[in-house]
């Protein structure tokens, strides 16, 4: 049986009208020039690791050093003053919001919104009381599937209003730096097996860790030519009982392009061009924040039951985006 779901909003690439269809990578003079683009990026301004700042700079300095040049940075202790850092025990959360119904992504393998065979598979979205979700986090072995609160619809300000003031509605110095309020604030909590597959967002992102840690793999926008995409039929996981999941196609939605390489175990025989790319790894600890610039590719994992809140601010569709789209156009080709 095929269940037809509503059209999913694949938010992260919703502005990607002209998605990169590069496969198996560019050749000839174009390839040479793209390789020079990547190598000069490293010489000119990229760091081999994500820099760490011990104090939050002024909004102007932050804009000048990180936002304008589109460079990621970790801000040590940026949210250590949030009451959430000391308050958000399971006991406290159960007490405060245990009866709230939240939307939880459930998958058999931890991969929500990710390729599986020929499918781009979205999670089963299950509504449950937050207390139930906490129980699952505490005894995951008793529940089939991998559970992750990862709904990117500003769920923190929509579903977690009772604990909102323990964290924040915005990151004031960042709002001042880029002259905007956040467009969405998302609450993340989940299993250590849950993985956010590599993708990019059309947002400036401040990712704040409240407890545990997050592990990021980041790749700059100039890596686009080396990151292979494929078209996948959209589908969704559905538990069919006794811990089994099936994949249900969504014919209405059709197909979407998605990154077909796993940066944790890249298949370099199939995608040798990925070798020219420049992944950097970083771990963000509780109390710290990562500035994840717009259009940077990222892959995310976390410690078990890690809690994080991230702030999405609309990006500027300026000269950097203009250049990025040019490269995307140049590298695009139909994918089989």
């Amino acid at each position: 049986m095929i269940i037809i779901r509503g059209n999913p909003v694949i938010r992260s690439d919703r502005r990607g009208k002209n998605q990169n269809m590069l496969n198996p990578g560019p050749a000839g003079k174009l390839k040479e020039c793209l390789m020079a683009l990547s190598s000069e990026a490293k010489e000119l301004y990229l760091n081999s690791t994500v820099p760490v700042l011990d104090a939050v700079p002024s909004p102007l300095q932050f804009h000048r050093d990180w936002v304008a040049p589109n460079k990621p940075v970790i801000l040590k202790g940026a949210v250590k003053h949030w009451p959430a850092i000391r308050k958000w025990s399971h006991y406290y959360l159960r007490d405060k919001i245990g009866d709230e119904v939240v939307s939880v992504a459930v998958t058999p393998n931890g991969y929500a919104d990710a390729p599986n065979g020929n499918f781009f598979v979205m999670p089963e979205e299950r509504n449950m009381k937050f207390s139930k979700f906490l129980s699952i986090m505490e005894e995951p072995e008793n529940y089939p599937g991998v559970f992750y609160i990862q709904k990117q619809n500003s769920n923190f300000t929509e579903e977690f209003t009772k604990i909102l003031d323990d964290a924040a509605h915005e990151i004031p110095w960042f709002s001042e730096a880029i002259g905007k309020e956040p467009d969405a604030v998302n609450f993340w909590m989940g299993d250590h097996r849950a993985v956010t597959s590599m993708h990019k967002d059309h947002y400036e992102n401040i990712y704040c860790v409240v407890s545990g840690f997050k592990d990021f793999i980041l790749q700059p926008p100039t890596d686009l030519p080396w990151i292979p995409y494929k078209k996948y039929q959209v589908a969704v996981y559905k538990e069919i009982g006794s811990g089994e999941f099936k994949i249900e196609e969504n014919h209405q939605t059709g197909s979407v392009p998605w990154i077909c390489i796993d940066p944790l175990k890249p298949d370099l025989e199939k995608y040798p061009q990925y070798e020219h790319s420049n992944p950097v790894h970083c771990r963000v600890h509780a109390g710290d924040a990562l500035y994840l610039p717009s259009l940077w590719f990222h892959h995310v994992r976390q410690s078990h039951a890690c809690i994080a809140v991230n702030f999405w601010y609309d990006m500027e569709f300026d000269i950097k985006y203009n250049y990025y789209k040019f490269i995307e156009n140049l590298c695009s080709q139909e994918v089989q």
Copy 2:
């Protein structure tokens, strides 16, 4: 007779190691993508005229709205408080610095550092008392040639120290915005026939007009594919008496690439690709300043005896530069 001069520093393109050699323009898919780059630039962020601000914004706002997105803007009244605006009459200047020896560019036609036939011709650099230069400005018909103080070696802070405090050593809000002191401050004064041929600089530029007006033609960096370059043999003008000038080759310096189209009368039969480019014209009046972003092509003229001071700040060699060089590489080809 060929006079060998010292190697000229062609400052404006001194970082342009891999100069665009595009001629007669790109073709095929590359051309299509470059045309989309230009048209999307217009849709996304370019203005059809240079915007005018009535007040200077905060350093953060200026960085966010203009420097980071690399967009020119006129700042009305930005230097109207300079004593120079009311003080710098010819009478005052003759009195204050009449005996100072300054370096003046002399050409037969107003074009210093510009193509003439197969040559890139630099001006005759003549040292004279400033009082003599003022006399020439007052009665240009009595002197053969076109005279222009245009030496871009921070001549304002080097040669004009006695009137420096009438203007400024820096533009404080701009220094704060980009977090640097100026690298060079240049004094410009000259004949209305003097023209600065189209070129680009690797500087963030604040161009301040003290008296008269300056007329700019500006083209964004994304116009690079449509702006033809040619290689020219370097030469220099030399007056040989009775108002005649000769062009003396400089074999030691060899050849330089320079823009071979005149935006005032573009030869579209020869360079049809220029039609895809996006020139904007603006006039900057006394008391006002133009922010001329790095890598923007510009062509400059002025009212007779116009006085201006410009501040060059080192640009950032960041992701925007990285993308720009990629396009330069992609479009490069050997020029005959």
